[in-house]
């Protein structure tokens, strides 16, 4: 599998999770204090590293075909869920998630609680957000890198670049993450996750794909075209019978 493709997919998927975590950390930083937000982030990253260090190596005990099948099914389901939401949002059937709204809600919630408890709640909020989104990034890295040690390296590099880039963007802008076109990112990631999921499920079941890894590109084009058609159909106004 092409390392750059792997890193690119991992980069995009991880960037989505990092943007979500950044939004909460920014909200806690603005509403309470930056030391609390940054300390919670640091503790969450330490907890995350410990979890990955303990449970990560266990994945290598599973036979590779079984792993590809399980990971493939999960990625396909995950990709379909993302793609479905992105299609519905493009078609105007679901509101586009606005990070500004999430950010303002978070600030309002934090300011509403008692001062004495606010710091503690702010810490837990940022800690939980970074830990959960970080775990999602770890799952993305491990699943995309399940093929080999080299693949794991490419996947981890892509995720690390995404997290670093989003963190730098957050520090530079200090503004809600809604400036990143989240739905576009989710649409592209949904297509990629579904394509990888289909490819790996097929390999796990014993399918010898035509063109080997090149078939990933065909699968991505196929799902992209299908999704574009679905956006057009879902967007079309329904005719009402008199």
């Amino acid at each position: 599998m092409n390392g750059w493709t792997l890193a690119g997919t991992s980069f995009l998927a991880s960037a989505v999770e990092a943007v979500e975590a950044l939004t909460i950390v920014l909200a806690v930083g603005v509403a309470r204090s930056w030391p609390i937000a940054l300390r919670a982030t640091a503790y969450a990253l330490l907890a995350l590293a410990a979890i990955v260090a303990v449970f990560g190596p266990l994945l290598h005990l599973i036979p590779i075909d079984a792993l590809k099948l399980i990971v493939g099914i999960v990625l396909t389901l995950f990709g379909l869920a993302w793609l479905r939401k992105a299609i519905l949002r493009y078609a105007g059937r679901k509101s586009v998630r606005n990070e500004d709204v999430a950010y303002e809600r978070q600030i309002e919630a934090l300011r509403a609680v008692e001062e004495a408890q606010a710091d503690k709640i702010g810490f837990v909020t940022a800690f939980k957000a970074v830990l959960i989104e970080g775990l999602e990034v770890a799952i993305i890295v491990v699943t995309f890198g399940a093929g080999s040690t080299l693949a794991l390296g490419w996947s981890a590099a892509g995720a690390a670049c995404a997290v670093a880039l989003v963190a730098l963007a957050g520090l530079a802008l200090k503004a809600p993450a809604s400036r990143v076109p989240e739905n576009t990112m989710k649409f592209v990631v949904g297509v990629m996750l579904t394509s990888f999921g289909t490819f790996w499920t097929g390999e796990g079941l014993g399918v010898a794909w035509w063109g080997a890894d090149l078939s990933l590109l065909f699968l991505a084009v196929f799902y992209l075209a299908a999704s574009a058609v679905l956006v057009a159909i879902a967007r079309a106004p329904r005719t009402v019978r008199a």
């Binding site: 379909l80 479905r84 579904t194 289909t198 079941l205 399918v207 010898a208 035509w210 078939s215 999704s227």
Partner: protein, 61 residues
């Protein structure tokens, strides 16, 4: 975190998409064993998944 929460995290709130994936797996298993070329099973899997996506898009949740 319970099983239902993990399932919702992975598959979202659609019921049709997971059913389509399950059907696609069964069809692919049969085709891998019976079709002249295993890539036919792969193509069938992708088509059923795409149909599942279409069904999920127009699903009321």
């Amino acid at each position: 975190m319970n099983i239902a929460a993990i399932w919702e995290f992975i598959a979202g709130d659609s019921r049709r998409a997971p059913v389509a994936v399950a059907i696609a797996i069964v069809v692919a298993i049969v085709l891998v064993r019976t079709a002249p070329a295993s890539s036919i099973a792969g193509v069938a899997f992708a088509c059923i998944v795409a149909l599942g996506l279409a069904a999920a898009v127009f699903e009321r949740t």
